[in-house]
Symmetry: C2
Subunit: 776 residues, 2 copies
């Protein structure tokens, strides 16, 4: 292997040569270089963008920083920190103050430690970083330090106030969700927040126009209806107070008080209905659509810019990795040899099969020259991100154990039967029959006995499938429905047995166990949708946008948490819930005389309160669906809280959610495979390693994966048709991958080209600037 | 002028020559040809697509068919026909049966006449057309004939049943809105319906999956909650009936019964809230977004295909017009001379200014050769559809009448003051102050006197502006806000004077007049938004999508009308409204004992009924906003009506509306001027006829248009800077124009090219097939 590694490494090599360069030293250096390149590739693959110290200890520190165990720990601590609200006053399960404070202190210390780790990883020291050029990472660090200091301050103040018996407010709890946004590697979440921030001015203008419209309509309502002496159903005067009208009409936009708010006017004169119709048309339909349009458009634009930066950063990382690994073997162009490339891939993805690695290499090195140039090398993270499913046909264990029995006519008949389409249909009918029986009364002994029959049938189905298909293939990673079936049926079996045992033992039937049995039985019905092709497509799309929905889950969590904290401080204890069977007269007005006779009390909404974090979250969800704005209990100004919540959650966040679902669906409808996927597929077909089409058609054999059993190099597997590849088409490992695919058409090709040229000198400059490591 | 008109006209010309071709004959022929070409161009410009008889009487018949008076008459008759529902049983204003039947008969006869006219216009006779190849126009004709016959049949049956005193159902009224869809030139409406029909299969699959989800959740709710003995607020058993649960959970998707439906379970155990949260997340948020995505995607796809066909038809028409007009003057390429082109444009748009015509010609004939080829000729309808605003600076009448006075320093100061930005701001402040005083109690005499002051100030503003700006420019067609201001202020003045006169005369203040005064005062406030640039942009976009909203208004009207007719037959008289001050005990339960104690009666919803067409429409609008599904009064199966209405209106039509607003906004955000607009603008700049930029900046002078006063040819205007042009940028005369612009990027350029090539032979074939007219 040639020693000519690259231009910028020469000093280091000279140094090592002076120090008496021997083979061990060179090997170690080689390993260090490979490690550095692997970190670059891994960063590019996972779209990380942190400038780190490139010395060997720096690399190790950085790898530790990105270690999954540490990431899990950080997330765990954030969850613990956030869930402290369950135990703090107003608590669901009260704990002494010192316990929650101590736990919070532990969390904060860990976060500070993580921050310190980050400071050590980046080449500059924390202090210079804080003073240096303004970039994202630094802003985040500053923000985190401020949050931690503020929280500590609040803990001390609150602790002392409590010790002195003075009432205090834990205001720093509002800052907690910001930790979730900023300390984790939640790029999606941060990006979502940035996009929202950037879209705000546009939304603001539409919102102001919308509010102007509401105010003008309210004024008109006041003038038209205020003097007519109309009464609401409660007997209050109707539309006489301007601010009350503004609030009522704002709530009408959320459709919460339709048609109640219109009825008195409509009862008085049919022409007043025209006023409300025009209002609803303009404000509920047109303005809400315009909000969606503006949010969608701006969010998409911002996201596109972010993704463009992401792609640039990725290419920069890969260019650096190439510089580290490049050799100039004879020709003028620097190249990377297959040997180094293979070791690199081995480092980046330790559990990759060598056949798979061989396949990727043959896609990169199309001409079989044994080395690849910069352009082909740059594709590596995208290649690694393409999900390739390896399939291995393996004989059934019964066939190897009892070949004569397994190959007998009867056995073959059973296998053919199970593989037949009618088998699926028969079980669909059984499931539907089961659904009918579930709907019937389970007190009837015949029906409860029938449930045993159904359980038996489901068990039989699983056993038959296990008999027909290779068990390890049946339970491979991609076989979602097989896992689903088996877990549901086995759990249902266990729960039903426990239930029967309890019943026969003491005639006592546990409600909880029965609930679980019912849920499991009903979940079993979902299987039916899988056998209908059309439904499967829709569900697959929904599953694909799952990670995005999770990102929005976090977004909602952050917003809800902040609103819950503020709401709990403002409204805790104002409404009380006395339990369903309470005879307390205060139950009639939810423990607050202000609510006496209001709809809130009449409809028994007492449990909709801010008395603890769980109630708050459920109430906020109700407000998201329909914002009634329950404000009778406190001052009228409390309505601002509800209006603000509606603006933030419904107008902004829900619209972004809708925008993302729209975008994801359009992508599913329109995008074909990428060029890289196509070339990979072509290569698979060329090497005759593709999965036969008949295998693909059978939905059960589809996408089987062998156990993690590595084969030799692809030369040996070439003649061996038992190992095969298939691309999990259009599926992306990461949300970022999907996003890059979404905007691929929109990303200027010149953008890439320019970028590369611009990167050419700049990245080598950057690499030269990086302290060349000198073997400790 | 050369007599060589074209290849396919030769026979005709030979014939006319044989008949003794003299100058008059040739002139007449020439006129006929020009008329034919003008009809083709006009068809292309307005995107009409009817094959018509090309003989001179055929053309005249076709021009009559497209005459605006006939079109207005048809629309008027349709409106009369639809509004018959107001006078028919159950009527708002009852009329004798024979009156409504007679009016309907007149309408039907007219529609039949229109249809006959159409049959005469098209080259084939009605009977062969009915038997011939299946195309759209024919299908529509068949449908119309069936509708007319069915309606006549129903009228006869219903009339005889009524005469015999037997109860009958006017079932054919459901068919009436179909006349609106099919007999008018409502291409947009028909296209919307076609797009919906084509999108239905996709929507259906998502809907089935959605219903499956609702059914499974309902089953789970039944099993989990049905046995707990929970009670709703009304004291009914909670979640014990499967169909009731399905309905409740379906209504929860519309958010109408949130959180009521969840409260009993939530009160019993906080964990049951999880069930509802998951339900809302999946069914309300995810599925509703997926519906929007599917509707949007399919609607857009279908619309794109329709627009593509439209463009093709347009090019075919223009190719035919070119064939009629073409001359081969010397060169090999057939061309159209400027003289013929000018006469053609004059026929198509009789009121076009010759300077404008000259401008269009110079854009087409860039090289100044005096004739244009086929490609340049094809642009004509697009050129005509670009809105060019001609501006003419003209001295103020006072200046010509009293020059010394008008040009005095004081007068000039006034003019400068009015033109100053501060003038606008001062009046904005006045308007806001006025808004505050409107909000205060008008019973106070000081405030009611102040209203006179404000009126005076507004009048002063208008007079000052009229003094400063040329009155005819001030009241030109594009000056929306000037018209708005003047009309509102003058009306307010008149109404206030009438009100005061009434008051001082008898101390009596008419409520109606006062209402009008208030509405006018408040409408005046809207002017404020025009002075803020950002708001103006948003409002302009909203105004631009206005025609589309009107199309959807028709769509909604059709659907509402059908549902109202069915609803009136099913539910009329079930709920009765006794007036606000009624003491009738039946008032407590809306005249229906089934409603006793229900929320419907408690909330005094009695006026929400199907007792006449107006109540029905208002109720349907309420159901669109929030679908409560009021069904307690009849059989449980009536819920199907409400669920069906929700599916049709909310899931399909409202989503299409949202999709169109989205699309229109994206277009506003993204599209620049078209190539044609750019070249027209360039030509205007070249000819130094452009409007100076400083004129454009002043928002008041913007887009002034001179009175309809034609100048000579552009040669004379070239040196005259008093007439200038400006493109009303990105504005389209027709919805179709906007649509073609929207999909311009998506329409394959090859599509055009191929089309033209394909058209080359086919259109000449088609033209040869058209009966060559032979001079009467």
């Amino acid at each position: 292997m040639s020693q000519a590694d690259g231009i910028e490494r020469t000093d280091t090599e000279d140094q090592s040569n002076i120090n008496g360069g021997n083979a061990t030293k060179a090997d170690e250096e080689m390993r260090n270089e490979l490690e550095l390149a692997a970190v670059y590739v891994s960063d590019a693959q996972h779209d990380r963008n942190i400038t780190f110290d490139t010395s060997p200890p720096g690399i190790r520190l950085y790898m530790l920083y990105n270690h999954w165990a540490l990431l899990v720990l950080v997330h765990l601590l954030i969850i613990i920190n956030l869930s402290l609200a369950v135990f703090e006053d107003p608590a669901v399960y009260p704990l002494p103050l010192w316990v929650t404070l101590a736990v919070e202190l532990v969390c904060l210390t860990s976060f500070a430690g993580r921050l310190l780790h980050f400071a050590r990883v980046t080449p500059r020291s924390l202090t210079t970083m804080l003073a240096g050029r303004p970039d994202q990472a630094k802003n985040i660090c500053r923000l985190l330090i401020v949050i931690i200091i503020l929280t500590l301050l609040d803990m001390i103040i609150y602790g002392s106030l409590q010790a002195a018996g003075v009432y205090g407010v834990r205001w720093s709890r509002v800052l907690r969700p910001l930790l979730l946004v900023n300390i984790t590697e939640g790029r999606q979440l941060r990006r979502a927040f940035r996009s929202i921030r950037n879209a705000l001015p546009q939304i603001l203008y539409v919102f102001l126009l919308f509010m102007f419209s509401v105010l003008v309509f309210s004024l008109m309502a006041l003038k038209l209806l205020g003097k007519r002496g109309l009464k609401t159903e409660d007997g209050n005067s109707y539309f006489t107070n301007y601010l009350q009208i503004v609030f009522d009409l704002y709530v009408l936009v959320t459709t919460a008080n339709s048609p109640d708010v219109m009825m008195p006017a409509y009862n008085a004169n049919v022409f007043f209905a025209v006023f409300f119709i025009v209002y609803i048309l303009i404000n509920t339909y047109i303005f809400m659509s315009v909000f969606l349009a503006v949010v969608y458009n701006n969010y998409k634009k911002n996201l596109k810019e972010e993704v463009r930066q992401l792609v640039r950063a990725k290419r920069r990382k890969m260019a650096r990795a190439f510089c580290v690994l490049q050799e100039t073997c004879g020709g003028a162009e620097p190249v990377v040899t297959q040997a180094r490339w293979s070791r690199l891939v081995g480092l980046v993805q330790p559990n990759i099969r060598s056949a798979h690695r061989q396949l990727l290499w043959s896609v990169s090195d199309t001409e079989g020259r044994g080395h690849i140039g910069k352009l082909a090398f740059m594709q590596l993270p995208d290649l690694l991100n393409i999900q390739v499913i390896t399939l291995k046909s393996r004989p059934h264990p019964l066939q190897t154990w009892q070949p004569s029995l397994y190959n007998s006519t009867a056995s073959q008949f059973v296998c053919r039967m199970v593989k037949h389409k009618a088998f699926v249909y028969v079980y669909d009918v059984i499931i539907l029959l089961n659904a009918v029986f579930i709907g019937l009364d389970e007190e009837n002994s015949l029906i409860s006995n029938l449930e045993w029959l159904f359980l038996g049938l489901y068990l039989l189905e699983i056993l038959l499938k296990l008999y027909t298909f290779e068990p390890r293939a049946f339970f491979s990673r991609h076989q979602f429905w097989n896992w689903f079936d088996t877990i549901i049926v086995i759990s249902a079996l266990i729960a039903t047995i426990i239930n029967s045992a309890l019943k026969s033992a003491g005639g006592y039937s546990s409600r909880q166990v029965l609930d679980i049995v019912f849920i499991l039985r009903i979940l079993r019905l979902i299987r039916v949708v899988d056998s209908i092709q059309r439904f499967r497509i829709i569900i697959n799309t929904l599953i694909k946008i799952g990670p995005t929905i999770l990102t929005f889950g976090q977004l909602i969590l952050v917003v809800y948490y902040i609103f819950a904290m503020v709401g709990m401080e403002l409204f805790k204890g104002r409404v009380r819930f006395f339990g369903t069977g309470s005879t307390d007269p205060a139950h009639q007005y939810c423990g607050n005389r202000l609510l006496n006779g209001t709809d809130f009390a009449k409809l028994n909404y007492c449990r909709n309160n801010f008395n603890d974090i769980i109630s708050s979250f459920i109430l906020l969800l109700e407000l998201t669906v329909v914002n009634h704005g329950f404000t009778a209990v406190t001052h009228v100004s409390a309505r601002l809280f509800f209006i603000l919540f509606h603006i933030v959650v419904v107008i902004v966040i829900i619209n972004i959610f809708v925008a993302f679902v729209l975008e994801a669906f359009f992508v599913e409808y329109t995008i074909a495979k990428s060029d890289l996927q196509t070339s990979l597929e072509k290569k698979i077909a060329e090497l005759e390693l593709g999965v036969q089409q008949e295998d693909l058609d059978g939905s059960l054999v589809e996408s089987m994966e062998t156990a993690e059993n590595d084969l030799g190099p692809s030369e040996s597997s070439k003649g061996n048709p038992s190992l095969m590849f298939r691309i999990a088409s259009k599926r992306y490992k990461t949300v970022d991958g999907l996003l890059q695919r979404i905007f691929e058409a929109d990303l200027n090709p010149e953008d890439y080209a320019e970028d590369e040229e611009a990167d050419g000198p700049s990245q080598s400059d950057a690499n030269l600037q990086n302290p060349a490591y000198d073997g400790i």
